[in-house]
């Protein structure tokens, strides 16, 4: 192997994996700390075991809005949108959450539901009072096109 190729490979072997780690972690801090949507436990920034706001403690609430009021529903197991819901719990980006609401609204079309609201909630825990509260992280609403709201 030519010497300059070896030197470049030596440098890459020594630093490239660590540089990647640092770049991914900094992006994760940007999104998880300054952006507030991404749970600190995901995204490769080493925030696991640091906060109650981890993915399993988040909830995606799907509400069907109709003329007779609102109804909280959950997706059946193995639903095609299960994966999208799982991702939304970790990182509810507005575009993805909007697309999820629209996909559920498309499924609800024709059932009398006028709109679908998808919310992502996280938990907060007060160690002094032992109170657990829900805090909304993100929300998206999509009309089904059935009637008017």
């Amino acid at each position: 192997m030519p010497t300059d190729t070896t030197a470049r490979l030596r440098l890459a072997a020594l630093y490239l994996p660590s540089v990647l780690l640092v770049c991914v972690a900094l992006v994760q801090i940007r999104l998880g700390y300054f952006g507030t949507l991404l749970t600190p436990s995901k995204g490769g920034g080493y925030g696991l075991f640091s906060t109650v706001d981890k993915q399993p403690n988040r909830q995606v609430r799907i509400t069907l809005i109709g003329p007779s009021g609102e109804q909280l529903v959950s997706l059946r197991r193995k639903h095609p949108l299960e994966r999208a819901v799982y991702e939304a719990r970790a990182y509810p980006r507005p575009a993805r959450l909007g697309a999820l609401a629209e996909a559920i609204a498309a499924e609800a079309r024709g059932s009398g539901t006028q709109a679908v609201r998808v919310e992502v909630w996280k938990l907060a825990f007060d160690p002094d009072t032992l109170a657990v509260t829900r805090v909304r992280v993100a929300e998206a609403t999509a009309p089904t096109g059935d009637g008017s709201r």
């Binding site: 192997m1 070896t6 490979l9 030596r10 890459a12 072997a13 020594l14 630093y15 490239l16 994996p17 660590s18 990647l20 780690l21 640092v22 991914v24 972690a25 801090i29 700390y33 991404l38 600190p40 436990s41 995901k42 995204g43 490769g44 920034g45 080493y46 925030g47 696991l48 075991f49 640091s50 906060t51 109650v52 706001d53 993915q55 909830q59 509400t63 609102e70 909280l72 799982y86 991702e87 970790a90 990182y91 938990l123 907060a124 825990f125 007060d126 160690p127 009072t129 032992l130 109170a131 657990v132 509260t133 829900r134």
Partner: protein, 310 residues
């Protein structure tokens, strides 16, 4: 009195001697390939990733020179990278770390023999040190609810997997955990519930603060010792700090041991100096201990033996 030198004792001594003499690249790559075989979590439930990773793991272990051949590690890296990209926002940190490690192996393998192992060792130490630097940063600076003990207090009160440990360190009865789970179910399952109150014990409040400070201290120590330049000073403590971290952390979270813990043992092994034979034996032995934590009711047994646990 002389101790009988029986076959079992001789067998253990031989195994330890063999492990000590195996070079760090051989041991670290083999531990990685074994991890692919024993951890469903690492290879994922998606057969498109788990099948090739397990086949590559088997080949690397059964055909010895292949555990250090670029021809095996390139497809391993391709699988790990594809898995990481596909699950970017949902996979845990150690999957990223394992992917960086596979990249480090692929980049080091083509190097001349006398450069490969020292460069891979430095890369492994950097990966370990930086991982714990960011972990300590999240816990100590960025997280709003770690240093006040909220994270561990909440986790021990609500996570079924921690119920036995909550009984041991906090005298929390199973009924309190069941109550807390039911309250969380009410919070999640109804539209109007926005807050619930958990049950705890004064002892758990105190011990979770100790666990919090211990975790912050040892993760900071890991960052400092693994990023410490050279072999002297605090760097001499790095293997022991990592081993103590594994021994004290993974009885509490055994499900993470045979994935994250094992990944740390791989990097620890790769980062050892050539004469750190004892550390390499202990890293390999710790992988076995992590299996015991994970696959046996170790903490439940500990609870039975703890006189004050309810």
């Amino acid at each position: 009195m002389a101790v009988a030198d029986g076959p079992a004792r001789r067998g253990h001594a031989t195994l330890a001697a063999t492990l000590a003499e195996v070079d760090r690249l051989d041991l670290a790559t083999r531990l990685t390939l074994i991890l692919f075989l024993v951890s469903d979590w690492v290879v994922s439930s998606d057969w498109a990733f788990s099948l090739p990773l397990r086949i590559l793991g088997l080949v690397g272990l059964l055909v010895p020179p292949w555990n250090r051949r670029l021809g095996l590690w390139l497809p391993v890296l391709a699988c790990m990278t594809a898995k990481t990209v596909a699950n970017w926002w949902t996979q845990d940190n150690h999957h990223f770390l394992l992917t960086y490690w596979c990249l480090a192996v692929c980049l080091a393998l083509p190097l001349p023999d006398d450069e490969r192992d020292p460069i891979l060792a430095r890369s492994a130490k950097l990966l370990l040190g930086l991982s714990f630097l960011f972990a300590a940063l999240w816990k100590g600076v960025l997280s709003p609810d770690f240093l006040d003990g909220a994270y561990f207090h909440y986790t021990f009160l609500t996570d079924d997997r921690f119920a036995d440990m909550a009984a041991i360190i906090g005298q929390v009865p199973d009924a309190a955990i069941a109550h807390n789970r039911a309250e969380l179910g009410r919070l999640y399952g109804t539209a109007d519930a926005t807050a619930v109150t958990l049950q705890s014990t004064p002892l758990l409040r105190t011990t979770t603060r100790l666990v919090t400070w211990w975790t912050q201290a040892i993760e900071t120590a890991l960052a400092v010792t693994f990023l410490w330049p050279g072999r002297g000073g605090l760097a001499r403590l790095r293997n022991w700090v990592l081993l103590v971290f594994a021994w004290t952390t993974y009885p509490t979270v055994p499900n993470v041991g045979v994935s994250f813990g094992w990944t740390l043992m791989i990097l620890g092994t790769a980062g050892t100096d050539p004469d750190d034979r004892l550390a390499r034996v202990l890293y390999a032995a710790t992988c076995a201990v992590l299996m015991v934590y994970h696959f046996t009711p170790f903490v439940a047994g500990l609870r039975v033996l703890t006189p004050w646990a309810p």
